[in-house]
């Protein structure tokens, strides 16, 4: 092959793309392997089935069940709340406002801005709201703050699924005499069910992994919360507190907690894939 500038360019970008891919895959594998390497020895049945006993943070008995259950409560509640806000919003901008391009682009821009705000700022905002209304550090305050954090993520993910619905399907549905709301909830919802369910689980993954927004709002406790008014432990904060300890056994447990967190996120991601394939059935491929 003769040397040509075009070939050199092609070669350069091919090498660049290859190494980018390698870097990402290797980094991901290293994160997972190092967490497993450090965390697996400390992981035991007691670790995931017990709440901290006295002296847990000095390396004695107990586990992180409080954080596991707390995280599931918190992320579950926040995802539910965010879905109740996010789904109508995503459908509204894609069905009712579909032709008001400028307005929709404005809303998307605002959502992207919100997406970009660091979660510690959400935490500070949640904290300010709590002091204003006199709400104590609690599961409820955590749920509300995390819901605010994930709504932009969820809406934009749903939006990506909804905005590729062809205009002809909207016209067809309206021509049958459907109202906009019927079109949104009976037609667009079904057409995009795979994408919508993925958006919900993606947001759940984000909700369960965030530490900064719940630091001041959900607090931390050694017990499993029994009501929305009680503070709750969470896995990210359990990792944070244990890792800051000078005692090696406790540090090891931080990695074990990370293994649990990664495992939950992995399960949720796999569930997202399965659900998205299952709901694919009725989707029309335009």
């Amino acid at each position: 092959m003769k040397w040509k500038p075009k070939n050199a360019e092609e070669g350069f970008f091919r090498v660049l793309m290859f190494f980018s891919t390698v870097i990402i895959v290797v980094a991901l594998l290293m994160i997972i392997i190092s967490i497993l390497y450090k965390g697996l020895p400390a992981l035991s049945w007691a670790m995931i089935s017990q709440v901290p006993a006295g002296g847990f943070y000095f390396g004695r008995e107990g586990g992180i069940l409080n954080a596991i259950v707390g995280s599931l409560y918190l992320a579950g509640g926040a995802t539910l709340l965010a879905t109740l806000i996010g789904l109508p919003l995503a459908l509204y901008i894609n069905v009712h406002l579909v032709c008001h391009k400028r307005l929709v682009n404005g809303i998307r821009f605002v959502l992207d801005l919100l997406w970009g705000i660091p979660s510690i700022v959400y935490g500070a905002f949640g904290f300010a709201i709590m002091s204003y209304f006199g709400i104590r550090v609690s599961l409820l305050a955590g749920i509300i703050t995390v819901a605010l954090l994930i709504v932009p993520i969820m809406v934009r993910a749903m939006d990506e699924a909804l905005k590729v619905v062809p205009h002809g399907l909207l016209e067809s549905s309206l021509s049958l005499g459907s109202t906009r709301a019927e079109t949104a909830y009976r037609v667009f919802f079904r057409q995009c069910l795979p994408g919508l369910s993925t958006a919900v689980l993606l947001s759940f993954g984000r909700a369960i992994g965030d530490a900064a927004s719940i630091l001041f709002t959900a607090g931390f406790t050694d017990y499993i919360p029994t009501s929305l008014n009680q503070p709750t432990a969470t896995l990210p904060l359990a990792i944070f507190f244990q890792l800051s300890s000078p005692i090696p056994q406790v540090q090891e447990r931080a990695y074990a907690s990370a293994v649990v967190l990664v495992f939950i996120i992995l399960v949720v991601s796999i569930l997202a894939r399965i659900m998205s394939n299952r709901y694919q059935k009725n989707k029309i491929n335009f």
């Binding site: 032709c99 016209e171 549905s173 309206l174 021509s175 005499g177 057409q191 009725n282 989707k283 029309i284």
Partner: protein, 252 residues
């Protein structure tokens, strides 16, 4: 006027500053096939979409004039827009089946009109699928997603779905342009049967299809109606130079 289903008077439509439909005056006779023909971009589709006010979807669209359907001006009416749209079935350039089963595609329109009894729905679904000669092909797979049908079958399903709402008018926007010849023939044959009970408005750029189907013709060019009249008159004895050259295939 007797025998006139839709009467368009002095209709003007702008998209922003672009003047898309210019002083349209046209009559569409009852229970006949009216073909709107003309070269691409002449406003055929826009004219048809303004009939069931899908032009409302575009916030830049500005409409003036009147469209009388059964003597009622649908641009001024206070009636619910969904009631006007139920009077008209739409068949688009390519089929847009709803993301649900074959059965539910037909039942959808019935359900949103408040008919929910299973027995009634079953009977109606079969009736409309038979009407478009699709029943024999799909009767054993009614629960399957509509997306699994061939494009030709999907288009007939969309026709049946439109009929199920009980319209008086069928609006068809180049309904065979995405179809194979056999499916196209099936749709054309349906139209010839359906015109006994329905007023059909067909937009097409296929001159031969226009000749095969039309009872009444509206010829448009650059947003204006150049000539209209019965098929025999427009095709055999066109009055305008532009119509003559279009019919000779001199421009598209």
């Amino acid at each position: 006027m007797d025998g006139i289903k839709i009467s368009i008077e002095n209709l003007n439509l702008y998209f922003g500053k672009q003047h898309v439909l210019k002083n349209i005056d046209a009559q569409i006779p009852t229970n006949k096939i009216t073909v709107i023909m003309g070269p691409s971009g002449c406003g055929k589709t826009t004219l048809m979409k303004s009939l069931n006010r899908l032009t409302d979807l575009n916030p830049d669209a500005h409409v003036s004039g009147s469209i009388f359907i059964d003597g009622e001006d649908i641009l001024q009416t206070k009636d619910d827009i969904t009631l006007i749209r139920k009077k008209m079935g739409l068949l688009a350039q390519r089929p847009y089946p709803l993301p649900m089963s074959i059965y539910n595609n037909i039942a959808y329109g019935l359900r949103i009109s408040g008919r929910r009894k299973k027995k009634v729905l079953d009977r109606r679904v079969e009736h409309y699928l038979r009407q478009v000669s699709l029943w024999e092909e799909v009767k054993d797979r009614l629960k399957e997603p509509a997306g699994r049908l061939s494009i030709g079958q999907q288009q007939r399903l969309c026709l049946a779905r439109g009929l199920a709402v009980g319209p008086e008018i069928i609006l068809a926007d180049e309904p065979t342009s995405a179809l194979d010849p056999i499916s196209s023939q099936a749709i054309e044959a349906q139209f010839n049967i359906l015109k006994k009970n329905y007023t059909i408005v067909l937009v097409t750029h296929i001159l031969r299809q226009a000749r095969r189907l039309a009872d009444h013709v509206i010829f448009m060019y650059l947003g204006e109606v150049i000539e209209q009249g019965s098929a025999a008159q427009v095709f055999e004895n066109p009055q305008q130079e532009m119509t003559k050259s279009y019919l000779k295939g001199m421009f598209y």
